[in-house]
Amino acid sequence: MKLLRLKDRVLPGLPLTLGFTVLYLSLIVLIPLMALAIRSAGLSASEWWLTVTNARVLAAYKLSLLTSLFAAIVNLVFGLLLAWVLVRYRFPGKRIVDGLIDLPFALPTAVAGIALTTIYAPNGWVGSLLEPLGIKAAYSPLGITIALIFIGIPFVVRTVQPVLQDMESDMEEAAVLLGSYRWRIFRKIILPELIPPLLTGFALAFARGIGEYGSVVFISGNMPMKTEITPLLIITKLEQYEYNQAAAIAVGLLLISFLLLLLINVLQRWSNRRQSPIRKGG
């Protein structure tokens, strides 16, 4: 307990609360995660590499990354649009629409999964409209992407919304006085301010998509090499009692997630630095 600076301790309860926090964190999160690290350390580096570069595993990684990336790009555009409309315009039912944005957070993924599958299946409400056009939505990478768009949309809206809300209008005022048009003002003044939260929301949606299971597994079709996402492949390996392979694939997936998390942290630090002088000025 030498780490604790004793002079700050006016209030009681540090040893108890910190002790409990560290103990509980270790038991529930750190030790189990360590089990994954140790299990995959049981494989030699070449065995690990062989597992994660297996054609079926690579196909799963590629599918997870590409569908998540594409869904995150769609969410980038529509998330910005939704945040913009919610902050700047008035329309009836706005409060309900604002609340609905959080639905993908609150709705259990299995419910979202079966609902989306039913809608986009060839005989579903939307799927039956797409089929004559030759578009197969459910049981294809497109279906996976649709599920990931559903899961990811709140991330972009909820990171962009507060920044848009707090934006001062004096720069816009000045631009108007100088004779700029709306589109130019948006591109030159508003959009640069929104880039950090947009990228953060994008990365959050992307990261969530890579690990997502429940909403995707019903609509994906689960064909090895074609529509098998990485989390499903991990479950398949577990069911075949291939624990080492499951652990190796999971470590690969975790590494991708942590890289994205790191990116999010860097972006947030960058956006804090960018915004602080303006905030102070306002």
Partner: protein
């Protein structure tokens, strides 16, 4: 991962001056496109759950919900939430107290580690417990000798749920308690109040809405978790199936109406959660303004 995004709700913004907004046609077009997107991606699943669950009529709906397997899944889901939510709440309060009321080295690392479960795929959240407690796991042989069942049994389901919902309460409380500082508590201590009493009389009234908010989000995720629980459950009917897993089984057996009937129950939970969230957010922003 829901908690990663801080809670915000659009404050009623004043109408913008005409020179600072788009023309009426552009505004209508943008609003229309945005709402169409939301209707297709978010609203349609909601509507379809209701439509599909009543496709075979009210009686079939009631039968699906009162089926013994459905009831036992409901019971297991309740038990899981009743264990996971209180434990994570106690943890969240303790962690927030230590982190916001004191200074110590390694604080940022601690906060990062608390957030860790949000960055981990649900499937991996289940996998780590299988690697630890499963038949081929580190503690598997010992558990088998002593006839203790964790994986493919209730304890594993509870543990996986606790992992997945781990950060919710702490994440909500840390920014609130950070903003409130330590002055109130220090004043109470200097007036002679002691530990638990300081928390109950001074801190708790300030954080009660935030605490409830965190608990509600934690509960929604605990009751709805699918991926992590799916890995550790073993899918034993009437024994280790939670509501989301029961939905999966019904769906895979082509009992679509029954699957959607059970799903409508969880959808109700989601809608109640969103309404409670919205009410609590306005309470919280009122508290901040005061």
């Amino acid at each position: 991962m829901a908690g990663i995004v801080t809670n915000t709700r659009a404050r009623p913004s004043a109408d913008r001056k005409p020179h600072l907004t788009e023309t009426r046609a552009v505004r209508w077009a943008l609003t229309g496109i945005a709402l169409l997107f939301l209707a297709l991606i978010v609203m349609l699943p909601l509507v379809s759950v209701i439509a599909e669950s009543f496709r075979k009529g009210w009686d079939a709906y009631v039968t699906a919900l009162t089926d013994p397997d459905a009831l036992s899944a409901l019971r297991l889901t309740m038990i899981t939430a009743l264990i996971a939510v209180p434990l994570n709440t106690v943890f969240g309060v303790a962690a927030a107290w230590a982190i916001t009321k004191f200074r110590f080295r390694g604080k940022n690392l601690l906060i990062t580690l608390i957030d860790l479960p949000f960055a981990v795929s649900p499937v991996i959240s289940g996998l780590i417990y299988v690697l630890l407690f499963g038949a081929q796991g580190f503690l598997g042989p010992w558990l088998q000798q002593n006839d203790i069942h964790i994986i493919f049994a209730t304890p594993g389901i509870v543990l996986a749920t606790m992992f997945v919902t781990f950060p919710f309460v702490a994440r909500e409380l840390i920014p609130i308690m950070e903003a409130q500082g330590v002055h109130d508590e220090e004043a109470a201590v200097s007036l002679g109040a002691r530990g638990w009493r300081v928390f109950r009389k001074v801190t708790l009234p300030n954080i009660k809405w935030g605490l409830l908010y965190g608990m509600i989000l934690c509960n929604a995720r605990a009751m709805g978790e699918f991926g992590a629980v799916s890995v550790v459950s073993g899918h034993i009917r009437g024994e280790t199936n939670t509501l989301p897993l029961h939905i999966e089984i019904l769906y895979n057996e082509y009992q679509f109406s029954a699957a959607f009937a059970v799903a409508s129950l969880l959808m109700l939970l989601a809608v109640v959660t969103l309404v409670a969230k919205s009410i609590l957010e306005s309470r919280m922003s009122r508290d901040v303004e005061n």
